[in-house]
Chain length 138, copies 3
């Protein structure tokens, strides 16, 4: 059994941003030499998400609007967490989007359906943050 | 370390449908010969979900009504993704339900609590779609 | 490849409760002797969640209020599942929070970002319930 670990770094210019990291995850699999196994990809921060869906610009705008409806950023005073922060909404939005994805590796490739792509969703950006790739297999 | 891979196929007659796949996942574990490890079960399409909950008809109707409240199907024009599709709601509903489940395998069995069952949730059906089972262990 | 299995037990005095289980998961990793791999932590009951976020009291109160808005407990009659139960809301709340977390193990430690902590979220307590820890690695 082999394992491989890699971190990805992000520093977005906006509070929220959706970044396609599929090729970076595949690169890590290539570097690992692992042909059969699982790859875990997770945000290392609690106001960001790793999720799998379609790389379609309209859908990403729908996510923005929808998350803002389910967990509005403002008014900041609606959240107790915001007594010394302003990012409670980011914690809740990331809860809906999920912290992590686990993906099968088959023949050295991400074992994906036709439209699956991996995204890092920054929900409280403008500073350096990280995602973790951990691969286990043979 | 051994791995095993299997696909499940679905073609539902309705737009949405909840299908219990627990026995099919256990069959794949049996076929794999793996006694200790993890099994990943994920939708291979981005408008479907694999989730774990109770096999209770009332609850499944509650899911339908609840998801429709949180991410309504219509009017289609409320979603930018629907400029050339009508399934934006399915992408959002699957986000709440989740893409995948990871389950422990112990003594060759799904290591479940008393009521845990695995479901495929079709959210944009009437066409062939797939779920992936990937098993890793020894 | 090695695996290790452990159950955690809970019996909360209130219907809902958020319990930090990070040190218990690290203890299980220590007991396993596994240095590199993955750990799955999941609720074994379908009205509870295992999730990762911040150990901050204000945020936990925000979760309570937010989940109650998205999936209200009462009136019980709004849910079909409640014809013989009163916990349909707990099934829905756990769906938002998630059943499980998968975490990387590196050098025998939970491979976490600066604020990540693991919680068991009891959503229908006042009785004995369990979470499962399954570790796989070398």
């Amino acid at each position: 059994m082999k394992t491989y670990r890699k971190e990805l770094y992000f520093n977005t210019s906006t509070r929220r941003s959706i970044i396609n990291i599929t090729s970076q995850v595949q690169n890590a699999i290539d570097e690992s030499g692992i042909k059969e196994g699982l790859v875990l990809v997770n945000a290392m921060h609690i106001t960001a998400s790793v999720f799998i869906n379609d790389d379609e610009r309209g859908l990403h705008k729908d996510y923005e609007k929808w998350l803002e409806k389910l967990a509005p950023e403002k008014p900041y005073s609606q959240y107790q967490h915001n007594s010394y922060e302003d990012n409670a909404d980011a914690h809740l939005k990331r809860t809906i989007m999920g912290r992590e994805s686990v993906i099968a590796i088959t023949n050295g490739q991400l074992d994906f359906g036709p439209w699956e792509q991996i995204f890092y969703y920054e929900l409280d950006g403008k500073r350096e943050k990280r995602a973790l790739i951990k691969i286990i297999g043979s």
